[in-house]
């Protein structure tokens, strides 16, 4: 359950990890999505997020079922296929106090939902958007999705010839401000990345390769456990120091990039690639394309920008949740109507 032996029995809110659990999963045993749910539980617990403050959002598909399997104490919205981003946008605008945690899949995001996904990324809405990416439609017999790699083979022998949509590249170029790729089997990396995601202010887009054990975990698949283990090319070793943990550990600025998050948390990325700078948008996109050429599965924090205004800033929305504003603030005075009527005379 808990990832590290040092994890405290209760977090800073006095809650135990059990307070972050959900219903029993109905996904296949060994499904990568279940591992991601576990990492989400751990990250929320360790970050001391109040469960009731979270809004879980999803679309349709195996991945979109998974919000039922973590954080039962949070409201959830299982929207229509591919259109969760709009629902999430409305919910966050209505109540900016919510922490929006969105779970989607590669079909839900990159095919039916690609339009809404793109526009969500443009707005830099405060949201954590996780794609549980297995390259296939697991709920409908395992047809290829739009993130399947060229040359990837289905169990039936069908080979994908269409170029994949790289959701990370899209997210970076369109305006998401924290973009990463991980692997459901890399406990440590995903865990640290999720904690940093919780501290980020703006759109977090995490594409997490999550093998489908039923339809896409065989020889010839590029989204299998084995393929990921053989081709995973981590950019950094990720350490995350929450703002509430006042730990001073020295680091070597030559080999480590430190990013101070909006809430004062620190994201430490020990470079495994010397010249990689995760604040350089152009470089991030170039590097993703180089990886594609070389057949590498590049993982890690690809891009981060802690300074960009969010959609809430752009709309200049008041600090109190709009949903809770009293009538005195939302119904202007009688004199206002009279004034407007006079103007229209």
């Amino acid at each position: 359950m808990a990832t590290t032996p040092t994890a405290p029995k209760s977090n800073r809110l006095g809650l135990s990890v059990l307070d972050y659990r959900g219903g029993k999963t109905t996904l296949c045993a060994g499904c990568g999505h279940n591992a991601i749910s576990e990492r989400i539980i751990d990250a929320l617990f360790e970050m001391g997020v109040q469960p009731e403050r979270v809004a879980k959002l999803s679309g349709i598909g195996c991945s979109s079922k998974s919000p039922a399997y973590f954080l039962s104490r949070a409201h959830a919205f299982n929207a229509v296929h591919g259109r969760m981003p709009s629902v999430a946008t409305g919910a966050v605008l209505a109540n900016r106090g919510l922490m929006a945690l969105a779970v989607s899949g590669d079909g839900d995001t990159a095919s039916i939902g690609v339009g809404q996904f793109i526009h969500l990324m443009r707005r830099n809405l405060p949201i954590i958007y996780i794609i549980e990416d297995n390259g296939v439609y697991g709920l409908t017999k395992g047809q290829f999705s739009a993130t399947a790699d060229v040359g990837s083979k289905l169990k039936t022998g069908v080979v994908n010839e269409l170029p994949p949509i790289d959701t990370c590249e899209l997210a970076i170029s369109l305006g998401a401000t924290f973009v990463g790729r991980s692997f459901s089997g890399d406990k440590r990396q995903l865990h640290a990345m999720l904690k940093a995601a919780i501290a980020h202010r703006g759109t977090v887009m995490l594409d997490v390769v999550s093998p489908c054990v039923t339809f896409n975990d065989h020889e010839g698949s590029t989204k299998s456990y084995k393929y990921m283990k053989d081709h995973d090319e981590p950019l950094q070793e990720i350490n995350f120091i929450p703002a509430f943990e006042d730990i001073a550990i020295e680091y070597d600025p030559g080999s480590t990039v430190e990013v101070t998050m909006h809430d004062g948390s620190r994201l430490r990325l020990r470079k495994l690639e010397e010249d990689y700078d995760p604040t350089d948008k152009v470089r991030a996109i170039t590097r993703l394309n180089e990886a594609k050429e070389k057949g590498e599965m590049l993982t890690g924090v690809l891009y981060v920008n802690t300074q960009a205004p969010t959609f809430l800033d752009m709309l200049n929305i008041t600090d109190e949740p709009l949903a809770g504003l009293p009538a005195s603030l939302v119904r202007p005075d009688r004199s206002v109507l009279e004034e407007v009527m006079k103007e229209l005379q």
Binding site: H75, F77, N78, A79, R83, P85, L337
Partner: protein, 357 residues
């Protein structure tokens, strides 16, 4: 409208107490208002026929998952792109049953700018009280042309937010089941995301669910839920704006109009009286589901003419669905579809012809 918001909806901190988003398309627009409604804010979007078509899937979700939101349909001439700069009352049936499965929605029919103002208030109150989508069926004539109007009246009623349980309510009640018919009126209680109580959360979904909002394919859960939704809709019948009725002594025939057809009907009644000595009663429908007074009106007349701006007599079709079978033969259609606001002379001529005068 954005200009008014900027003037009158800035809070004490100098920030906006509203959000206006230019959505990428109607699919996103309806999704956003549903997301906002779910989270407890009053939200609306506005569109015309093609946008209504695009909103169809989400409309079913809002109906079934019981989420308040308001959609304004500024009806124009269809099908398809149709005559995009011309007016019509052609979306009555498609809006009433928008989406798949057994879905139906509350609709309001304003006839004037002043009624648009009043029905905007009604629409939000009804949406939250009944936890459902409400369509306000305006049209291009009303929505885009200049009109004379009496000044709008300041709303005297408090804002009705419907059955929402807060933290203290949950503590007092001890339990919460999102889709349970506690009061026997078909309207369940809801909680808003962010409510600081461990029992507040529930799982909103468009798939089959039981009273606790858990996934369910059990026939009794599905049927029970659909029957409750029907009870809720029946309840709305007497809560929506009632029709406006004008009865004259000695009138044998009745006229039914709605929306902007109202103005032509008013004038046609004068023409029928002064030119043909034909006295008429008049009922103007202001909402769907149809109020009981509408059935009484039809019952009280030998013949009832339904005046509307579409080819297929859509409001008459709705009446046919909702009224007792014995009343249906009394209905006659006066339907116009030339893209212009209905004119009185056409209405008068057609009624005179049908009356054999």
């Amino acid at each position: 409208m954005i200009e008014y918001l900027k003037r009158f909806r800035i809070g004490p901190d100098g920030k906006a107490t509203f959000a206006v988003v230019q959505a990428e398309d109607e699919l996103a627009a309806i999704g956003m208002v549903i997301g906002a409604g779910w989270a407890g804010a009053r939200a609306m979007t506005t569109t015309s026929g093609p946008g209504i078509s695009l909103m169809s899937e989400f409309a079913g979700l809002a109906y079934y998952a019981e989420i308040p939101a308001v959609v304004w349909d500024i009806q124009r001439v269809g099908p398809s792109t149709g005559l995009p700069t011309r007016t019509s009352q052609g979306d009555i049936l498609s809006a009433a049953f928008l989406s798949h499965g057994d879905t139906k929605h509350i609709m309001l029919f304003p006839a004037s700018p002043r009624e648009c103002f009043e029905m905007a208030i009604d629409a939000f109150n009804l949406a939250e009280q009944f936890q459902t989508l409400v369509f306000v069926m305006s049209d291009l004539d009303l929505g885009m042309n200049n009109w004379m109007s009496e000044p709008f009246a300041y709303p005297e009623q408090p804002i009705a937010r419907g059955k929402v349980l807060g933290k203290e309510d949950l503590t007092r009640r001890g339990s919460f089941a999102r889709y349970k018919d506690v009061d026997g009126d078909g309207i369940p209680y809801r909680t808003l995301p962010g409510t600081d109580h461990p029992a507040a959360a529930y799982f909103t979904r468009g798939s089959g669910h039981n009273a606790q909002a858990q996934y369910s394919e059990r026939p009794e859960d599905y049927e029970g839920n659909m029957e409750r939704l029907q009870r809720k809709f029946e309840r709305a019948r007497s809560a929506v704006p009632s029709p406006s009725i004008d009865r004259q002594p000695n009138a044998s025939i009745g006229l039914i109009g709605f929306g902007t057809s109202h103005w032509a009907v008013q004038e046609a009644r004068d023409q029928l009286r002064s030119e043909y000595g034909l006295e008429t009663d008049y009922l103007r429908i202001r909402a769907f589901p149809l109020n009981h007074e509408i059935a009484d009106f039809v019952r009280a007349h030998e013949r009832v003419y339904v005046i509307e701006q579409n080819r297929d007599a859509q409001m008459l079709s709705l009446l046919r669905i909702e009224l007792d079978g014995e009343l249906v033969p009394k209905l006659r259609s006066v339907a116009r579809l030339d893209g212009l606001p209905v004119d009185a002379r056409s209405v008068t001529d057609e009624i005179v012809a049908l009356e054999g005068k």
